[in-house]
Amino acid sequence: MMLDSSAGALGASVEAGLLGLELTQVQWYLLLGTAVAVIGMVRMLLTRDLVARLIALNVTGIGSLMIILALAARSAESADAAGSGPGIDPVLSALVITGLVITVAFTGLGAVLIRRIEGFQASGRRDDAESGGTAQDPEAEQ
């Protein structure tokens, strides 16, 4: 792609032995981020264990933030080639930081919900009878 010229100038290319392709550092991290995000997503959609799903969602989040960081570094690389580069793009870094904050928020919310669901399962169905027949398994509707 358009990175190839700047890559040579920077000398930051990484030999990816895999396909004999020469990847720049940025491309390498883009690929890595994509792989992490996809792996997390697949795991999240396939597993039934709730905690594992939450962790997988976190992995997906980290993967997507890695993609964004690599994109931030990409714009820095092209800026360097032009002779004036402030380094990593600040706007995309701000995006990543906000993304991290949101990751913490949803992990907390998910953990609370999982704790309640599994807490009830662990404490037995003892109080099922008390709360009446209105309780229905939402999964059963499909």
Binding site: A37, L50, T60, L71, T134
Partner: protein, 555 residues
């Protein structure tokens, strides 16, 4: 000129910040004070949204850089026609549902309260005091956590609608998503699993959207919606520029938002989440939370991406999914025996209508027909018609579905069940509830006069003008289906028959609803009725809507 202008700009910031402030403040208050604060805030937001709508209707696009910091690092708020319309719908529905929730605290959820052992912990309404290990605990209706969550959600919705750049849109969407999940979880134990599932889907959708936004930024160098739209159309005009990244970004954004809006193959989470949520929450989820994702989708397709021919396949795929949504959602709605899942499936079906316009945007022949002699089409007439039709359908759906979910939830609270078979003849005892269900059914089916009718009419005429006759077929089939499933839901409630013994043996108010709960029969029933009435009355606004949408339109 200057003074009223700055007042309107103040309103633009305040519609986001005042609910947020009220949300934070309400955490410190007791449950009665929270209700007062909630109603006051909703009145304030209604009052603040009005000048924005008036000002935008007069033809101005409002823009405010918060704190004077300009675009790249500051936060820009912008209100054009699309924003003002969604803002107004949210204000109306939000205010009515807030009043309902204040009048009927029992509708805001269920909480585990320790019985008389620790009265202090119980009145706090805090979920931490109610662990399952504390055995003398019982489910009590009413959850004061509703207010901070709903006000936070409202702030997020308004932030999405007035956001000037894609990243604040993302933050707003996240705020809406997380508070919506917590609102679902207020529904008690049976709602928790649904809420968790909703959390996974909502966050996954946001992450995909975020990657898309970052890709668009890396191509255009700006997050601002209008600037990036300009940059992309310049790139497209240059011809040789590689727009693969933009197409990929649009794919990711569309997929992420389709998850959030529950487009058909991705719709399974919606049914348990919307039907197990408390009575005051389901209308908010269905009428407003989904609209936030729809709004962003329209922004991304019309304002950011513009008519790139490379997007044609994606547009057809999404329109195909929309068609599938209308058919599958309707069939599944017909197969339900309970009121709230039926209404939830009808949401799935209605979502499909909003995606039908996408192929119209990109068809090169559409633009070729415009402005030529013999066709009475002005420039952008097809697009304007399709967009205002879609927006009218979405707004009409918001009003109608809020009313329908409110009445259905109210009936469920009254009789302790929402099995349609057991609610036969409920219209005799509660004419106003069933009347509002009927009115909102008129809106959802799209019978003349309602906003739904205006929307379908606008969409159909622009589809015919562009030669996309298949949209007409889909609209007609969808209308017939929606008439079928809504009749299935409403007709049994209207049975008055003296000859049928079973009709009169309604189940008594029982189980978790307290028979002495006066609020069930009181003024709270007015809330769904007002919304149902609005569904029908707003039908006259079709033409006005098209005019408002012209303000700040991308063509």
């Amino acid at each position: 000129m200057n003074a009223p202008m700055s007042l309107t700009l103040f309103c633009l910031g305040a519609v986001v910040l005042i609910p947020l402030l009220a949300s934070a403040l309400s955490v410190l208050l007791g449950s009665a004070a929270r209700r007062v604060l909630g109603v006051l805030t909703s009145a304030a937001v209604l009052g603040l949204s009005t000048p924005i709508l008036v000002r935008v209707t007069s033809g101005e696009t409002l823009e405010l850089a918060l704190g004077g910091f300009e675009s790249p690092l500051g936060i820009t708020l912008r209100a054009d026609g699309l924003s003002a319309l969604f803002l107004a719908m949210t204000a109306i529905i939000g205010a009515v549902v807030s009043c309902y929730a204040a009048a009927r605290p029992a509708a805001t959820g269920k909480r585990l309260a320790a019985q008389a052992v620790e009265p202090a912990g119980a009145t706090g309404g805090d979920h931490r005091g109610a662990l399952p290990q504390e055995s003398p605990a019982a489910w009590k209706s009413g959850h004061a956590g509703f207010w901070p969550l709903w006000l936070g959600c409202w702030s997020g919705l308004n932030a999405v609608f007035v956001s000037g750049d894609m990243f604040n849109t993302y933050v707003g969407l996240e705020l809406v998503g997380l508070t919506a999940v917590a609102l679902v979880a207020l529904g008690g134990r049976e709602a928790w699993a649904a809420a968790l599932r909703y959390l996974f889907i909502a966050v996954l959708g946001s992450l995909l959207f975020l990657i898309g936004v970052a890709l668009i930024y890396s191509v255009t160098g700006t997050l601002d919606i209008i600037d990036s739209g300009k940059a992309i159309s310049e790139l497209a005009a240059q011809g040789e520029a590689d727009l693969a990244a933009v197409v990929l970004a649009l794919c990711l954004i569309s997929l992420g938002l389709a998850l959030k809006v529950a487009l058909v193959p991705l719709h399974r989470w919606l049914i348990p989440a919307h039907s197990s949520a408390p009575s005051a929450v389901s209308p908010l989820l269905s009428a407003l939370v989904i609209k936030a994702a729809l709004f962003v989708l329209l922004r991304a397709w019309l304002w950011v991406a513009g008519p790139l021919p490379e997007l044609q396949i994606l547009a057809w795929v999404l329109a195909g999914m929309g068609t599938a949504a209308i058919l599958l959602g309707s069939v599944m709605a017909l197969r339900q025996s309970r009121l709230k899942p039926l209404i939830a499936y009808s949401t799935v079906a209605q979502v499909g209508y909003w995606f039908l316009l996408l192929p119209l945007l990109l068809d090169p022949e559409t633009n070729a027909l415009e402005g030529q002699p013999g066709t009475a089409l002005e420039d952008g007439a097809v697009l304007a018609g399709a967009l205002s039709g879609t927006v009218a359908l979405a707004l009409g759906h918001g009003l109608a579905k809020a009313s329908l979910f409110l009445s259905a939830g109210h009936l469920k609270d009254l009789y302790g069940t929402d099995e349609i078979a057991e609610l036969r003849g409920a219209g005799r005892a509660h004419p106003m509830l069933v009347m509002s269900m009927g009115l909102s059914a008129v809106g959802l089916i799209g019978l003349p006069l309602s906003l739904g009718f205006s929307g379908k009419w606008l969409l159909a005429t622009s589809a015919v003008a562009a030669g996309h006759y298949w949209i007409l077929v889909v609209l007609v089939v969808g209308t017939l289906f929606s008439a079928a499933y809504l009749l299935k839901a409403v007709a049994p409630l209207l049975v008055m028959s003296e000859d049928d013994q079973t009709a009169l043996s309604l189940p008594q108010a029982k189980t978790h609803s307290d028979p002495s709960d006066k609020t069930l029969t009181g003024k709270a029933q007015l809330a769904p009725f007002v919304l149902g009435l609005l569904t029908v009355l707003t039908g006259f606004l079709g033409v006005w809507l098209t005019g408002v949408l012209e303000v700040g339109a991308p063509w």
